[in-house]
Subunit: 458 residues, 2 copies
């Protein structure tokens, strides 16, 4: 095999200990968090390489480039679309050793190496009374992966996705060339835009090795609100009215009560947060207590016209954390019965129509969907459960959901990206001119097609 | 001339009336708002073409491509870096006839053709109780130009630059191919990132013909606050404390009293807004009155420790508009005595250091700078005034200001972009790897180099 021939050279670059060829040690690098029913079969004939510096990454890429060997960049392996799974014989390039986080408190910025976990960034920021809002759920995700996948999460409503947090990037191109883009300024019209070529490119154009990301002051006064509704439609109407009145909570989530209770059970937590068919879960954070109270007051008066019971309001840190924990573990609670977790996104005004379509699809195929949505920005997570259905039925369910989202002007993916599992749909739904442009750019940057092949680019 | 040979073909595409060859009618298309002392000499041997549809634009580009004729896309001509000035014989392609604005109220989105003015978009949005935040100053700017230049303005503090407003784009590539990217969803990880290749590309990669932009509910309760300080440093310290406490006003501006009074004079308005050396001018907008008051209260209590007098607070629409008008016309008030308006940007914590450097440069060359800054996002506008200095002195002043910004981790341009006038500095300050990448991408998309040559790309 070609890769065997380069293993000595790889060892010379990164050191004996950081080139893995033992199959048992390689195994954890062959999978990400993509559901087993939909993920691609990994190719096991790979070498895992763990460079310790940007310079070593550059040398590894030069070697791969010269030998036309595929390279699969790997972060925390928390992706849900098979984007990190090696599908050809080649190099799995793990960023895990580049994990430094340097907080520049004075400028409210973090200088983060690609392999630092989200958890570490959050902790380091917190030590400095700072705060990093993007949060896709799994804190084992690494910054390089978050950027490569333009991760979002519930707080994107106020703070945007990763795209809005990145001020500067360092990239190693497929030919080993290091590129530095942007810097520490918040506004920068001198070449910054090329960062965005790599944000969301899912490892297909280069290796993100370092970033400057924007931090925020730690929220001073926060509250979590749970409003019960007797139907999703009521909750959606109420939420839209909030948005129309100009409220921008940190997050504005829609969850069904069954999923919340089931997840509390799964976590061994008592459910003490009232009754209702569905909930609007609202996170607020304001710089002073009076603003927070005035916001709670305003929001409550709008929502109370449609609620089905008393809202739960908590400002206590531990209670807020518990509710958030339950919300963020819904996915885990369903995981064993999960065929595929979707993340379609809709224009705001079409959410009600989408829910209607979703119900019709459910009835047609005899399936039920947990209702979990980042409602405030139109991202819906209709998880497709196994429920002892045949795979081809579940695929039809997926495809009808995609058709519905697209027919309403939405997207098949608001957060998780294309990766491997959605390539066929990207091929189907992306504009012909755009696909041609994407291939053209891919070829210009990765002329040998070695960067994460079989992924992203249709 | 080559362009004379294609004028008949151009007439066949867009119609007799929309091909301009009369030198007097061409003249207004040869300039933008770049200061006369720094702008490039326009080439007068151009044909102005005004297509009436995307299809016509595509045909014009195919013709230009086939004949390798340079194309200079033109919006409102309000740019300040010569980006729209034709520097070779070719076609000036004006988007002015593509000026439709279609408000999709239900989804809080506008579908805007590239030639629609900012004024029109603002008006149409307002009719629907909606609001478009980006505002670079001159409302004659067209949407295509705003996107091509990633325009910002003072409200970028809360709402970001144009980049944050664009959900979808249609582009005509240099070869005439139409590309559609993104759509109406707020979150979209299916190919959206390629929009960002064109946002900020200053006409160098393709012609932006249409966009979906995000709108917001019209602010319900707003106020404008003017806090006087006896020194810029006091004002900067106070503003940093606001930011550190988590306040995110709509805008947070620093202006010196002389500039405000001079501009009020210039506009024939009385100055009734108190005394002070410099002001922090703060725009607030909140969804309810109590939030607004609590915000004013919180901000006042932080700032009052350092102010030099009583703050002015106004909630009356007309008064707020008057103050804003004065602020936004400072540039015009200085215009006749202006060598060049700069727009350097700094990391937040370096603003004080920058101001110190600026003072030293002023002393060294015997010049004074108006102090005008979008302080909240670190963008400084140190206008270089003529003040009967020699041009080479003023160029030295500019270059020392650039050096200072770069040495502090900032950028030479936070808003206005590179265009023609800053190419030499982009060449100097951009990373070598990035420049190579930029040229590579330019070549992949615009293989014949016909798109706005001599601009942007170093």
């Amino acid at each position: 095999m070609l890769i065997d021939e380069i293993s000595e050279e790889l060892r010379a670059i990164v050191g004996e200990n950081w080139v893995i060829t033992d199959p048992r040690a390689i195994d954890p690098y062959l999978f990400d968090k993509t559901e087993p029913y939909i993920r691609p079969q990994p190719i096991k004939e790979v070498i895992v390489v763990k460079p310790g510096s940007i310079d070593e990454i550059s040398k590894v890429m030069k070697l791969a480039f010269a030998s036309s060997i595929p390279v699969f960049p790997r972060g925390g392996g928390t992706g849900l679309t098979g984007g990190a799974i090696p599908t050809r014989s080649g190099i799995v390039l793990s960023l895990e050793r580049l994990n430094r986080v340097n907080i520049d408190k004075n400028n409210m910025i973090a200088e983060v190496e690609a392999g630092a976990t989200l958890r570490k960034l959050i902790e380091e920021a917190e030590k400095n009374d700072l705060y990093f809002p993007p949060h896709p759920g799994d804190e084992g995700a690494q910054i390089g992966g978050l950027i490569a996948c333009n991760a979002g999460g519930s707080r994107a409503l106020r703070h945007g996705t990763m795209r809005n947090s990145v001020l500067g990037l360092q990239i190693v191109l497929p030919n080993g060339r290091l590129v530095t883009i942007g810097g520490k300024a918040l506004k920068n019209n001198m070449g910054t835009n090329f960062s965005h070529l790599f944000i969301g490119s899912e490892g297909s154009l280069g290796i993100i090795v370092k970033a400057y990301v924007k931090l925020y002051p730690k929220p001073r006064f926060s509250a979590t609100l749970l409003f019960p509704f007797s139907s999703p439609n009521d909750a959606i109407e109420a939420a839209m009215e909030l948005l129309w009145n100009g409220y921008v909570p940190l997050s504005l989530e829609l969850v069904d009560a069954t999923s919340m209770r089931k997840t509390a059970d799964y976590l061994g937590l008592p459910w003490k947060y009232g009754t209702g068919e569905v909930y609007l879960m609202i996170l607020l954070a304001e710089p002073n207590q009076e603003m927070l109270y005035a916001e709670i007051e305003g929001i409550s008066s709008i929502l109370s016209r449609r609620t089905s019971g008393e809202p739960i309001l908590t400002e206590r840190r531990e209670e807020q954390d518990e509710i958030l924990k339950i919300r963020s573990e819904i996915y885990s609670a369903y995981e064993k019965n999960l065929f595929e977790g979707l993340d379609v996104s809709l224009p705001l005004g079409e959410i009600r129509n989408f829910l209607e379509m979703l119900n019709r699809i459910g009835e047609k195929y005899g399936v039920k969907f947990p209702i979990v949505a980042h409602l405030g920005d139109g991202t819906f997570h209709p998880d497709i459960l196994l429920d002892s259905k045949e795979k081809d039925v579940l695929v039809k369910v997926r495809e009808e959901i995609y058709e519905s989202a697209i027919s309403l002007g939405g997207s098949i993916t608001g957060e998780h990206g294309i990766g491997y599992t959605r390539r066929v749909y990207a091929e189907k739904y992306l504009d012909e001119g755009l696909k041609e442009l994407m291939r053209n750019i891919k070829k210009a940057i990765d002329e040998k097609g070695i960067m994460n092949p079989d992924k992203f680019i249709p």
